[in-house]
Symmetry: C2
Subunit: 200 residues, 2 copies
């Protein structure tokens, strides 16, 4: 399939590499074109599936640049977290409580089929879950069942075994709120090779 990966940071690179390894075609979208990059709008127009791998604080602006018409009807995989670094470390969240970044994106682009996932772990694990020895989990939030199934298929191809569908896009509130703990665990564990597992 044709994937637009919006964002050129560690997350965009990890997801882009993971998609290429599964035989997908990707175009990387960024603010400006050049260096093999396309603009957000060029990448989204061309793609069948769009991945929002931009920083949370820049996501809505990037998706506006991509263009609502270029997102309409398409699966929009939202990996971003609403981290606010304006007061330094540790960051707080700029959306929380009874709203989430995933919901804001779905509200502003009602024709996009938003699936929130992969936002609860470090970039190196997203497309490479076998990097950890223990069993660990990835969550899905979204209103569109078929969109979630498509995303689950991509995740399974990468080696994900436990894919927990939490429900509609409002459940993104819970996964976005994992980040404050995830960041503190960096200090306790000393590296980013960990992820959450729901033990039974």
């Amino acid at each position: 399939m044709r994937f637009a990966v919006l964002g050129t940071g560690d997350v965009g690179k990890a997801i882009g590499a993971g998609l290429v390894s599964q035989g997908h075609d990707i175009r990387v979208g960024s603010r400006s074109s050049g260096d093999g990059r396309h603009t957000f709008a060029e990448a989204a127009l061309w793609a069948e599936v769009v991945v929002n791998a931009t920083k949370g604080a820049a996501s809505l602006e990037a998706l506006r640049s991509a263009g609502a018409a270029n997102l309409a009807g398409k699966v929009l995989i939202d990996v971003a977290n609403p981290l606010d670094f304006s007061k330094g470390m540790p960051p707080t969240l700029f959306v929380q409580g009874d709203d989430s970044l995933g919901e804001r994106i779905q509200r502003e682009f009602p024709q996009a089929r938003v699936v929130k996932t992969l936002n609860t772990m470090g970039a190196s694990i997203m497309a490479n879950p076998r990097r950890l020895k223990e069993e660990h989990d990835v969550f899905l939030s979204g209103n569109d069942k078929a969109a979630k199934e498509l995303v689950a298929g991509i995740l399974r191809a990468w080696g994900w075994k436990v894919i927990l569908d939490l429900g509609d896009i409002t459940t993104a509130r819970g996964t976005e709120m994992l980040m404050p703990l995830w960041i503190r665990l960096l200090g306790t564990i000393g590296n980013a090779d960990y992820n959450f597992h729901v033990a039974r």
Copy 2:
């Protein structure tokens, strides 16, 4: 040791039973005495260690009733979450961002040695971690190292193997923010027999 358990709900009962099973003496504190219960102040005055197992929205009031003088110098194990049910289900948090209930308690009772723990799981697992087959974790947040060691000893006696010390009381922000996901997982999993594990 002598433990005051403030709160008579499922959490207070589970922790009280767990402490009794380890040979500790407990007094249950509630708003009013009678039925083998003591007031918050009576229980706290008598105790060496105080457990806040009240509802988050009632915790500061309960601790004021217990009395700052009766908490001074004592380990105060805070198990509560700042859940706000005023808008119905799912609840939101009434403290979040750059503050937490654990910090509010520590600020208002600076002489108490607050340790936030056990607030990331269902009551039935707190003093009985072997209820789950898989490995799973409990977190500690607090400013006082000796207080955290005392709490870790209690947790180990109950069977806890992975006890993750996140750092000072500000790290309670992260664990209190797990609740919105924990509540959604009830719907996905269908019962409360689960807990978080940081997989490596």
